[in-house]
Amino acid sequence: MNYELNRSGDIMNFKKWFFKHHKEQNPKNNKAEVDDNLFDLLKQLRGSNDFKEVVIKDGIKKVKLFYFHSLVDRKILHRDIIPYIKKEQVNSVEDVREVVPSENIETTSDVNKIQNQILSGSCMVQVGENSQSVALMRAKINKNRNVSIPEVEFSVVGPKEAFVESLDTNLNLIRKRLPIPELRIEEMTVGKITKSKVAILSIEGITNEENVNTLRERLQSIEVDSIIDSSYIVQLISDNQNSPFPQLIDTERPDRVAAILTEGKVAFLVDGAPHAIIAPTTLVEFFSAFEDYFLNWITASFFRLVRLFGVFFSILVTPLYVAVLTYHYELIPKDLLGILVTSRREIPLPPILEAIFLELAIELLREAGARLPTKVGQTIGIVGGIVIGTASVEAGLTSNVLLIFVALAALASFTTPVYQIGNTIRLIRFPFLFSAHLWGLLGVSICFCFFMGHLLRLTSLGRPFLEPIYPPRVKDFKDAFIRLPWTFQSQRPVEVQAQDTMRFNKKKAKEKKEIDE
C-alpha cells in the first residue's frame, strides 16, 4: 500500500516536470469533500480518545454535547452550560442560545467552521440526532504562563513585562500601551497543520501601508505546514534567507513593540510564541538596547558606542592577532615585542591553529553551557573557562596573550542586546580568521569588503538594511550610533517611510521645557 503511494507520488513528480499544464493536486481540496457533512466530521473526530460525546438530555429530541476534554475547561461546562440546558426545555438549537447565559454562542451548520471551533476549544451542542445545525460555545481552557520578567532583554529601569505564549495576553500587553482606535490588529492563520494565528500590528495613518501589505503578502504566501514559533516565520519571510544576518528583530518586550509601532514600523505576533517580530529594521538597530531609551541620552549613547566597539573588537581581534603575527611583525610596537615573543616562544602551533584551538574551546563551552540546565551550565562555563584556559597556557598549547584576546572577544560578543545578531557575530569571526591566515591584513580587508558588499545588498522588508550608513540619511543618525535627546527625535525614521513623518512639534517640546525650568 505504502509502496504504491510512493510510486504514484514519483509519477506525479515526473508529470510535473514534463507536462507544464498539469494541475497539482491540493491535499486540502481532497479533504474538504470528505468533511462536507457533520456526520463524517464526527466520525473522524471519534477516532481520538480525548473527544467526548455526552448525552445531556434524553427525550424526543436528544441533546448531545461534543468536546475535546483536552481543550475544554470542564469548570465552564459544569457551571455555565450543562445545568442550564438540563433545567430548561430545549427543542432546537435556537433554544440553546436562549437558555445558556453566555455571549459566546454561535449557531451554524458550516462544517469547516465547526471543525475549526471544536479544534480550538469550543464545545458543540447538537439538538436532535441528525440535525446539521449546531450551537458552538467557547469553553477554552486557559493554561498559560504568567506574564513575567524579560530574561533576554532584561533592563534595570523600565517596565518588566515580557510576552508569553498566548496571543490574547500579548495583544493585551500592547493595546493597553496604545489606547488609540488607530491601532489595527489583523489576524490570519498560517500553516496547514498548526493553523497558527498570526496578528499583524500597525497604526493607521502612521504606518506606511506598503510595509503592511508586503508583510501580509509574505505571511500569506507561507507554504510550510507547521509553524511552531515566530522564528520559523522570520526565516521564511526574510528578504535573503541565505544571509547569516537576521533581517527582522524579535523582541520579548511589549514596551519595545509599542514604541516601534509609534515610530511607524510594523510588528507581528504569533500565537504560541513569546516574541514579537519587528520590521523593517536596520543593522544598527540590532545594537540598540531598549534600555537606551530609559537612560539619559549621554550615557545611553556611550553604552551604544561601547557595544558597537565590542562588536568590531569581537569580530576582528583574533583575526588581527593571527594576521600580524603571521605576516606583519613590522606592525608590532617595539614595547610589545618582548611580551608577544616570550608568550609564544614555547608554542609549537602556528598562530592560526592556536587561535582556532581557543575559539573552538570557547564555542564548545558556550554550546555546552546553553544545552545544560542553568545552574550546571554556569558552573561549566566558569570552571571550563578557567581550567581549560590556564591548562592550555601551561601546557604550552596557546599563548596567554591570545587567551586574553579570545576571552575578551567572547565577552564583547555578549554585549549585543539582540540574541540573533550575537550568533551571527559568533559565526562571522571564522571567515575573518581564515582569510587573516591566508592573506594577512589584506585578507582581513578582503573579507571585510565581502561582508560590506553583502550588507549593502541586504534589505529588510524591501528597505535598505545598512541605512543610515548607506543610503546615507543624515536625519536617521539621531538614533543610530548615538541617541540624541527626545527633543531631537521629533521625526520618524526615514527608513520606514511613514505616512505621517512628524512625531511631535519640536518647538513646542522645547518651549515646554523652558517653562518648567
Partner: protein, 354 residues
C-alpha cells in the same frame, strides 16, 4: 561557477605568500657599519633575545661583506632562524666609512619596504661593533638607542631626525642633512652632538653644548629644552625653554642676499645660583641669555658658511621666493651672506619660590 573558480584561485594562490611568523624569525633592531679589510664592510646586527622573565639579552652578530644587504643572508647562514629587517630602529655608521659617502650604505635601507622610514640614522667616531655589543639596559641596543634619541628629540636638545628626514634633506635643493653623533661613554651610549653632511659626506660637527642653539635655528618651533647661562662671570642660571619661534627673512635675494634671523623665546628660570631674584636680575638674565645665544648662533652660522653646508635650509627658503634661484650659484654666494640675528627672549616664570 566563475565565482567558485575565483575563490579557488585565491585560496590556492595563498600558498605563494611568504609567511614570517613572529617567533620563527630573528628580529634585527639595529645595524652598524664599520670599515673592514680589503674594502669590505663590517656589518654588525643587533638582535634581542627575549628571556622568559621578560628581560632581554642584547646579542650581536658581525660579518664582513662587500655589500651591506648581503649581510642578512650571511647572518642567516649561521642561525636557526632567518634574519628579518622589518624591525630595524637604528642604523649606525662609523665616521671613517661615512667619509666615503653614507648613501651607498643606506641605499639598501630605502630599497627595503619593510624598514620604516622612522628608523634613526646616526654616526659615531668609535667602533660600531663595540658600541653595539654592550648591555646598557634591560633592552637590546636597537631599542636602547632608539629610545634614547626619541626622548631627546621630544624633550631635549636633539633636533628632529630620522631616515625619512635625512632623505628629505638630502634630495631637497638648498638644504643639507645632519645626523646625530653618538659615542661610547663608559657603560652607556651618549649623544655627543650632530654631524653635518655635505651631499652624503660628513664634513663637520656640532657639539653637545651648542645643540640648544642648533635646534632652535634648525626647527621653526621648539620646546622643552634647558639652557645654562653665565651672568657677569659670577652667577649662573639654568633656563628652561617653554617655546621658541624662529623666522628667517631673506632680503635682496638676487644680487647681495641678507638674512634676518628672528628668534622669539619664552623661558622660565629653573635654577639660579644666587638666592635673591628681582625684576632687575631677571632682565639681566634675559640679556645674558640673548647674548650667549647670539654668540653661539653667529659661531654656528659662521661654521656652516665656512663648510658651505646649509642644515637650516636657507637655500630652500630662498628658492621658494625666486624663480631665478640656482643651486650652484647659491652655494657660491652662501659663504658671503650677511646674517643678522635678532633675539626676543622673555622670562615668563621664575618658579614657585619667591
Amino acid at each position: 561557477m566563475k565565482k567558485a573558480l575565483l575563490i579557488l584561485i585565491i585560496v590556492l594562490l595563498s600558498g605563494c605568500i611568504d609567511q614570517r611568523i613572529l617567533d620563527e624569525v630573528r628580529l634585527t633592531t639595529a645595524v652598524g657599519y664599520d670599515p673592514g679589510e680589503n674594502d669590505q664592510i663590517k656589518v654588525t646586527a643587533v638582535s634581542p633575545f627575549f628571556q622568559a622573565d621578560k628581560s632581554t639579552i642584547n646579542e650581536t652578530f658581525t660579518v664582513l661583506t662587500p655589500l651591506s644587504k648581503d649581510a642578512k643572508h650571511k647572518f642567516s647562514m649561521s642561525n636557526s632562524k632567518p634574519f628579518v629587517s622589518g624591525k630595524i630602529e637604528a642604523i649606525i655608521i662609523n665616521e671613517e666609512l661615512a667619509d666615503n659617502g653614507v648613501l651607498t650604505i643606506v641605499d639598501g635601507m630605502i630599497r627595503d619596504p619593510s624598514i620604516g622610514s622612522r628608523a634613526y640614522i646616526a654616526t659615531t667616531k668609535d667602533e660600531v661593533s663595540k658600541l653595539l655589543q654592550g648591555q646598557y639596559s634591560s633592552q637590546d641596543n636597537g631599542m636602547f638607542i632608539s629610545d634614547t634619541l626619541d626622548h631627546n628629540i621630544i624633550s631635549g636638545s636633539l633636533p628632529r631626525t630620522n631616515l625619512h628626514l635625512f632623505f628629505n634633506d638630502y634630495y631637497a635643493k638648498g638644504k643639507d642633512p645632519f645626523i646625530p653623533d653618538l659615542s661610547q661613554d663608559k657603560n652607556s651610549i651618549k649623544i655627543s652632538g650632530v654631524a653635518l653632511l655635505k651631499e652624503d659626506q660628513i664634513v663637520g660637527h656640532v657639539n653637545q653644548d651648542q645643540l640648544f642653539t642648533f635646534k632652535t635655528l634648525v626647527q621653526k618651533k621648539t620646546e622643552n629644552d634647558t639652557f645654562l647661562v653665565d651672568i657677569n662671570d659670577e652667577d649662573q642660571a639654568l633656563l628652561f625653554k617653554i617655546s621658541s619661534h624662529t623666522d628667517y627673512d631673506i632680503q635682496n635675494l638676487n644680487n647681495n642676499p641678507e638674512v634676518k634671523v628672528k628668534v622669539k623665546m619664552n623661558l622660565t628660570i629653573r635654577e639660579y645660583s644666587e638666592s635673591e631674584l628681582n625684576e632687575k636680575k631677571i632682565i639681566e638674565i634675559e640679556t645674558a641669555a640673548e647674548e650667549k645665544f647670539k654668540e653661539q648662533a653667529t659661531n654656528l652660522i659662521q661654521q656652516f658658511q665656512e663648510l658651505n653646508v646649509d642644515p637650516i635650509g636657507i637655500g630652500q627658503m630662498a628658492s621658494a621666493k625666486s624663480r631665478q634661484w640656482n643651486k650652484e650659484q647659491w652655494y657660491d654666494q652662501y659663504p658671503d651672506i650677511n646674517f643678522q640675528i635678532e633675539t626676543n627672549f622673555k622670562i615668563t616664570e621664575t618658579g614657585v619660590a619667591e
